[in-house]
Symmetry: C2
Subunit: 397 residues, 2 copies
Amino acid sequence: MNFSKRIEKMQESPIRKLVPIAEETKGKGKKVYHLNIGQPDIKTPVEFFNAVKDFDKEVLAYAPSQGTPELISAIKKYYAKYNINFEDDEILVTNGGSEALIFSLLATCDHGDEVLVPEPFYTNYNGFGDMTGVNVVPITTKAENGFHLPEKSEIEKLISQKTKAILFSNPGNPTGTIYTKEEIYMLRDISKKHNIFLIADEVYREFVYDGLEYMSFAHLNDIEDRIILTDSVSKRFSACGARIGCIASKNKDLMKQILKLCQGRLCVATIEQIGAANFINVPDKYIEETKEEYRKRRDVVYNALKEMDGVICEKPHGAFYNIAKLPVKNAEKFVIWLLKEFDINNETVMLAPAEGFYATEGLGKDEVRISYCLNVEDLKKAMKILSEALKVYPDKK
Amino acid sequence: MNFSKRIEKMQESPIRKLVPIAEETKGKGKKVYHLNIGQPDIKTPVEFFNAVKDFDKEVLAYAPSQGTPELISAIKKYYAKYNINFEDDEILVTNGGSEALIFSLLATCDHGDEVLVPEPFYTNYNGFGDMTGVNVVPITTKAENGFHLPEKSEIEKLISQKTKAILFSNPGNPTGTIYTKEEIYMLRDISKKHNIFLIADEVYREFVYDGLEYMSFAHLNDIEDRIILTDSVSKRFSACGARIGCIASKNKDLMKQILKLCQGRLCVATIEQIGAANFINVPDKYIEETKEEYRKRRDVVYNALKEMDGVICEKPHGAFYNIAKLPVKNAEKFVIWLLKEFDINNETVMLAPAEGFYATEGLGKDEVRISYCLNVEDLKKAMKILSEALKVYPDKK
């Protein structure tokens, strides 16, 4: 039996495809430090679990398709802390940020349409493009430049009749880059001039370091009808398993259209919504402490990378990832070698080869994404292993 | 700003679009019996809530993309009760039956391909077709014939080069029809001869009345590579809000492809999976009692409909819906009239106009779907209201 071309074309997750090799390594008794995945180790706020445990209905019924009123109210209050003011019908609860992105693409693009995406990008954007029949057109950014955007004219060259949106994450996964105000205004100008949507994935909104001022795309009041925020509680509240995200937009007509998609899949899990609604009662210091912890980890990773010969990595100012260019010919082979051949005291490290984060063929082959979701002690050990490994790796550039 | 054509084309849920009128009615102090939605009132087994309350991890982490091992094991055991034997890699946990259906379409059909679907069908099949760019080609079935399938040659006439699958629910929503063995074998023969998948939505598997023998499409061993089951705990365990479903198929290559879709959206809600895994410990008598309760309700509805002048309705043998052809010119207008103009002792009834359950223009205009998710006493009152309403409704055929 034949499958669809679109599903055959989909790539395996570059974050997960080497997992079987890591499992084999662990099976041999070797410890593996996982810098490949963005699974936080920070404790989920007890407020979530308390609300879940308080659930006392006898029937686990469908929630409203748009989300429970309690969760929508909590999301509104959360945004208000950032001076972003949404009304009830400007928020739709989704199955994580993933569904928010899929719905945004379905609502703005037809089959064969295009979205511009700065690369390297969150690898599943490719998958969402494949699922929705939308072509991802990369705006290439570079390690040497801290993955900041190219000139406006460079971006405009990529725009065609089929371009319906620019999709990006800010703070950036996998780069840790925070867009400057100039970059944000440039994207606004492009959106205005070419009549295209900006789909802003802001799930790492809290994780901005070094005193940088953070600006949400929702603050661009003059183009609010073309801003679509996609969001998630996964990272900020260390609640990846809740699968609670949202789409938010001041474009009420758009939201009415997307509501049809929400109705099609009926609702998002009821109990997880009840838990997530209670995040609004988490003291602000939870976020502050979490952010400070990630900042420390960022420093461990960045300071270690800086000391490694031949590694190129600008200081990342946000999220909990960075992309490092390594002095190796092929980063995927290097990662496999790390797992299979290398260890220090029977410990090794796993990284995500970055090629899968690019749409342009051939880019990222010598890069890795490093996720700093481990505690400082483990991170130090992991970076030591990486450093020693690079010294002896046989297939260097 | 323009939206995509595909989202503008999507219809509003015919089950939910009249809800604002019902709300208005209730706002005036009138009681509305909801026969329009399939939200069961049966208690969810305590096993679910107990497992949820026992969750004691401090970090709510991602679950595996394919589902938790515990839930997959529980699903295997559940199927084994029906002599259906799946292996671990033949089951993928999904966000309800909805996502199972969307993934099945994405994996078998490209944009512009076709699926045959017996109509009337679960109205969201239309939405899933719109989302995935797959054209729903209806196999028309009729109230007078209990919504059984037409002759094989009639179905074969609809098959083109673009036909990749036949999608259907059995027991049927919205018809309550159970396919006979002859119908099942006919679909098998068509699948074999024309090399197309059978996507069998069997979420109402338990709800088969009148001693009919139930046969799953998974029992068709000779075409197991082309059978895709889509399933859900929503109805059988009265757990619609859990959003736990699955895809199951013996076609391991297909499942490997669909796993990429699962990885793209990371995972299904962790806590709901933990709850659902414990359904395997629900005593069989829960299902038996639930089924018996629905059987009683079916009798109340069917016996009442039989007595109403001009109503056409064959006895439904499964699920908890039926489609009734009413002696009215336009069922949607009738439903609105029921809500706005009619009551008995300040009580009225809400039905789902059936037009939205058909793909063929003009069909179903004089039909409604009746969902019997209310207790017997309320159902009796609701059917009395319907009966009296039909006697006095001014716009009859």
